[in-house]
Every structure is written in C-alpha cells, then in structure tokens.
C-alpha cells in the first residue's frame, strides 16, 4: 500500500507538485492521469525517493520514506520515465544486475528472472545484447529488471509510452496480472482511454494538484456524464496535454 500525504515540491518559482495526497491499495490498479507537465513524474520521483519533498509524507506499507528510504526502495518495483538499459549487456545480465543490487542470491534471481521472462514473453531476446532493441523490447527488459525482487508495490511511469498496439495490449494484460497477484499497482499516463480501461481507481492530477480521486463509476457520476473521457476533461477543465 502506498500513501502520499500533502506532497509539495518546487523548482525555483515553479510549483511542480502543490499538495498531492492519495492512497494506492493492494490488489488494485491505481491510475495517475494528468496532462503532460501536471506533476506526475515529480510525484512518482518523490515516492521512490529519488527526490525529497519540500513538505509532506510518503508511506509505503506504513514505512516513512524520509526515515528509511532504503526499506521503501526494497518494497517498490520502479519503472521510471528514464528506462535506459546497459547496451553492452544482454537482457538477462541487465535483469540479474538489479537482482544482485537488491541483495538476492543467485538461485532466487534465476528463478524469478525466468518467471518474468515467461510472463513478459521475452525468451527470444533474453540472451541478446540490448543494443538495437525496439522500444517494446526495451520496456520489457526494464520491467523485468524493476520487478526482479518480487516487490509488493509496482510503480510504472508511462509504461506504454512509445509502444505499438500489440505491445500496449500485452502491457495492460501484464498490469492486470500483477494486480491479480495481489500487488499494489500504480501507473501514470496521459492517455484517457488507457486509464479508463485498466484502473480500479483513478487519481487525476492537474497543475500539481489532485482534482479527482475516485473509481471510474464514481468519476462519471461526479461529472454527471456517461462518457469517462468527458468526465476527465470536465474535472481538469481542459483537454490540453491529454490523449484519447
């Protein structure tokens, strides 16, 4: 479970995140929807302790990120916006490296790695050096390496960015698969249809603030419209920076 309480972060005069609070529960997919530049990535960066919030609190499974960032990182599987691989290493070696950094032993790494390779259907590329991988192959490798330590909480920043239709569908199936295993899945997106199709709960962010936090049904009721996309536009106040 992930709890964010009144997070603030400013870069100079720009208030990137201006009071964000929400909770992502276990066994649910929580979607963070917002136009480009709304503060999604900065919020997630504070969550996985890459940045320190100016004020506010981050709790992961009840652990305060400010007090014990290493314990929080151990409980998180993170696919950041930046998902560069080591191009002179193979897919497997990239995945193993992160497993070792999590302090796992070699047997556990091998077992978990092979399970992920199977689940992500990437056996054909597993022993290739990642140089020259397609966007989809890169994302698969990056996800496998982020989840190698079997984390209870999965955070994915725009996971379908740059993927083709087939790869996007496979990614959505994979996120549902993670939820069905009882994990807390939190992902960000600026694509309305994707959030609508996947999420049990939707947190809408605009200009650094949470403007809506509800289930898709509740959101439709709140906005008084049957169309979820209309509801999004209504709560944000504009369709700029969003994609259907």
């Amino acid at each position: 479970m992930i709890e964010l309480k009144d997070l603030h972060k400013a870069f100079g005069a720009v208030k990137a995140v201006d009071g964000v609070s929400f909770t992502a529960r276990d066994g649910e997919i929580t979607g963070l929807l917002g136009p480009n530049g709304a503060g999604k990535t900065t919020t997630l960066r504070m969550l996985y302790t890459l940045m320190k919030p100016d004020s506010g609190q981050v709790l992961v499974d009840g652990i305060d990120a400010a007090a014990d960032p290493a314990a929080v990182r151990r409980r998180l599987g993170v696919l950041p916006d930046a998902r560069g691989l080591y191009k002179r290493l193979t897919s497997r070696e990239n995945i193993d490296y992160f497993g070792r950094l999590h302090g796992m032993d070699e047997a556990a790494i091998a077992e978990r790695r092979e399970a992920l390779i199977k689940a992500l259907e990437m056996a054909d590329i597993a022993d290739r050096r990642t140089e020259g991988f397609s966007q989809g192959q890169r994302v698969k490798t990056a996800i496998a390496r982020a989840l190698i330590h079997d984390p209870k909480n999965c955070i994915l920043d725009e996971p379908t960015n740059g993927l083709d239709v087939m790869a996007t569908r496979a990614m959505r199936d994979f996120l549902r698969h993670l939820r069905d295993e009882g994990r807390c899945v939190l992902f960000s997106s600026h694509i309305m249809q994707e959030v609508g199709a996947l999420c049990d709960r939707i947190v809408v962010i605009a200009r650094g603030r949470v403007v809506a936090d509800a289930s898709p049904e509740a959101l439709r009721a709140q906005a008084g419209t049957h169309n979820l996309e209309d509801a999004f536009v209504k709560v944000i106040g504009s369709a700029e920076g969003l994609a259907a």
Binding site: Y48, L50, M51, K52, A70, A71, R73, R74, L76, V78, L79, P80, D81, A82, R83, G84, L85, Y86, K87, R88, L89, E93, Y97, F98, R100, L101, H102, G103, A142, R145, A146
Partner: protein, 391 residues
C-alpha cells in the same frame, strides 16, 4: 560491501566488452607514450653517437695554401672534400654543415710567424651542425696548440709558460643522473597513462549512464549512492592501474633498447623501481579517478564530459614542466604534494638517488588524504537530486 562488488564487476564486464575502451587501457595508454619517447630518444642518441665516431666531412677552400694543416686534420679524422661553389649558400641551405676557408694570405702569415687566419663558415641557428663545428674547431685548436708548443720549445723555453692556468673538469653527475635528466618526462607519461586508462570509465559510469538514462533506475535500487560510487570508482581505478602497470612494463622493456650505456648512463628500471613506483602511484590513480568522475558528474552529456576531462589532462603536466624548466633541489615537503611527490619520487628512483622509506610513506599518505577528500566531494555531488535526472 556486496553491492560495491556487484557494481564494480558489472562496470568491469560492461567496459571489457567495449573494444575502444579496452584498446585505450591495454594498448594506447601504456604503449603510445613510451613508444614515441623511445623513438625520439633513440634517434637523438644514435645521431649523436654516429657523428662522434664517423669521419667528419670538411669541405675546404684553398687547401693548397696549407698542406700541413690539411694533413693534421686528416690525421684527426677529417675527410677533406672540395668546397661548393657558393659556401655561404651551401651552409645556409644545409647542403654542408660547415665550410673551411684558407685564404691565400695564410702561407705568408705562417712564414712570418704572425697569426694565420682560417675562416670557418657555418650557421649557428642550425643545431644539427653544431656538433660538427665543435669537432672541427677542436681539431684546429689542437693543431694550433701543437705548433705553438714546438715554436716555444725551439726557442728554448718551457711549454708550460703558455699555460698559466689549467682547468680540470670534474663532473659530479653520476651516470644515472645524466640518464635521469633525459627522462624527466617519464613520470608524466606514467601519470598520463593512468589518466587515459581511467578516462573512458569515468565518463561512461557517470555522464554516459546519465545520457543513456540508466542512472535513475539504478538509483531506485536499495543501495546507498556512496556504495554505487565506490563500485564505479573501483572499476575506473582498476582500469587506470592496469594501464599504469602495463606502461611501467613497457618502459622497462623499452629501456633495454636505449643505447644509454654508450653515453655512460644507466637507468635503474628494475623490480624495485616498479614496486615503489606502483606504491606511490596507487593513491594518485584513485585521486585521478575521483577527479575524473567528479568532472564527469557535472557534465550533461558524454561529449561535454570528454571536453572537461581533456582540459583536466593538462593539470598533471604542470609539475613536470616546472621540474624540468627549474631543476629544484628536492625538499621533503615536495613529497607531501600530490603529483609533485610522485614526480620527485619516480625521477629520483630512476636516477638511482636515495629515496627514504619515510619519504615514500609521506607521499603515499599525503596523496591518500587528498584522494579521500576528493572522493568525499564527489560523493556529495553524487547524493544531489539533480545528478540522476537525465532530462
């Protein structure tokens, strides 16, 4: 501790797969400098030796005016040749090192016992010819001396009258020291080798990782950044140290091919030299790796990092230049200054001058202290939020 090793092994493995890095570490870094150095020194030494042993060709104008002088020159190894039509131009255009001109008045002056003049035509700015000029001058002077002595003796006087003062030269430089002067640049080549060897990794592990956008996922792992940094520095240091060991080996082998013995020099490049050099260089290699990583951490891209590090490469040459331009008397405090300490230690070891173990220790400890300081600064930069953010 295990995480440091994990990062270290991954960086080593990844960089060993990069052909350009491996070439830099194993070949270009250690070999280029010694090779150039040996080629130049060898060419200079052999040419000097050649000139000293070979007969000296002397184009002469008016040889018929002084047959005795010509005979004396021949006995001393001069090879009398016909002079070119325009001796001044021939010398200027380097067709001849020098031309000796004996005027018609020579015989007349000689007979009267007056100073008989010969003209030596040469070009002072032509350094290549200066050896030949000095040799011919010596031949002419010794002929003059001999004739003067005979004339004095013929008048019943002692030839010692002509030498009120005698200078005896006693050169105090040892053979090793003469060799050491020629090799004043050697420490710089070692330091440069270590610098080149670590450069690719320092850039790749920091600026490169950020440019590839892999630093942010790396920092999402539950490993303190200081441990990640230590693993990376360890890999950079290992590559640099490998380069250093190879360049010392290359120099040891190369020194065998230098005709230093013929010049009465000897270089003390043996196991003791290698070992002590490695000891004083070890903390410096770590210091350089930290400095390189620090500079690379400020760069936004691989290319920018390369620019910074190329500028940084000029820093180690400063003490070398100072030492060769102004040959300071070695003082104890010098050992305590990184770069200078290594320069002094390596130069003295090579020349066979004594270096006390306390001085080696001072050099090691002082450089280590500065290296730790630079590491702490680098670790601080590594902890900053901005470092991980790629865009």
């Amino acid at each position: 501790m295990k995480s440091i090793l994990t990062v270290f092994l991954k960086e080593v493995r990844e960089n060993l797969r990069d052909r350009r890095t491996v070439l830099n570490t194993l070949l270009t870094g250690p070999l280029m400098a010694p090779l150039m150095f040996v080629l130049i020194i060898n060419a200079v030494i052999s040419r000097e030796l050649d000139k000293a042993e070979k007969p000296l060709p002397v184009p002469v104008i008016g040889a018929e005016h002084a047959p005795n002088l010509i005979e004396a020159l021949k006995q001393q190894g001069a090879q009398i040749k016909d002079a070119p039509a325009d001796p001044e131009r021939a010398v200027r255009e380097q067709d001849a090192d020098l031309v000796l001109k004996i005027p018609a008045s020579y015989a007349e002056a000689w007979r009267k016992g007056e100073p008989a003049q010969v003209e030596l035509i040469f070009d002072q700015s032509q350094r290549d010819a200066s050896g030949s000029v000095a040799r011919l001058r010596g031949m002419l002077e010794s002929y003059g001396q001999r004739t003067a002595t005979m004339r004095v003796v013929a008048r019943g006087l002692s030839p010692t009258l002509m030498k009120p003062v005698v200078v005896a030269s006693r050169d105090q430089s040892t053979a090793q020291a003469r060799g050491g002067m020629m090799f004043a640049m050697l420490p710089y080549f070692f330091i440069l080798g270590a610098f080149i060897g670590g450069m690719a990794l320092a850039i790749d592990t920091t600026a490169g990782e950020r440019e590839r956008q892999s630093l942010e996922p790396l920092f999402a792992n539950p490993v303190p950044r200081s441990q990640i940094l230590l693993g990376k520095l360890g890999a950079t240091t290992s590559f640099a140290f490998t380069t250093l060991v190879l360049s010392i080996l290359a120099f040891s082998v190369a020194a065998l091919f230098l005709p230093t013995g013929k010049l009465g020099m000897s270089l003390q490049i043996g196991p003791r030299f290698a070992l002590l050099t490695l000891i004083v260089m070890l903390p410096l290699v770590f210091l350089l790796a930290s400095l390189q990583t620090l500079a690379a951490a400020f760069a936004k891209s691989y290319r920018e990092a390369q620019t910074y590090l190329s500028l940084l490469m000029f820093v180690p040459i400063i003490p070398t230049l100072m030492m060769s331009l102004f040959p300071f008397k070695t003082q104890t405090w010098m050992y305590a200054v990184p770069l200078v300490g290594q320069q002094v230690t390596i130069t003295r070891l090579m020349r066979g001058d004594p270096v006390a173990m306390t001085e080696i220790a001072l050099c090691f400890v002082a450089t280590t202290a500065v290296a730790i300081l630079v590491y702490l600064v680098t670790a601080r930069v590594y902890r900053s939020e901005r470092l991980a953010i790629s865009a």
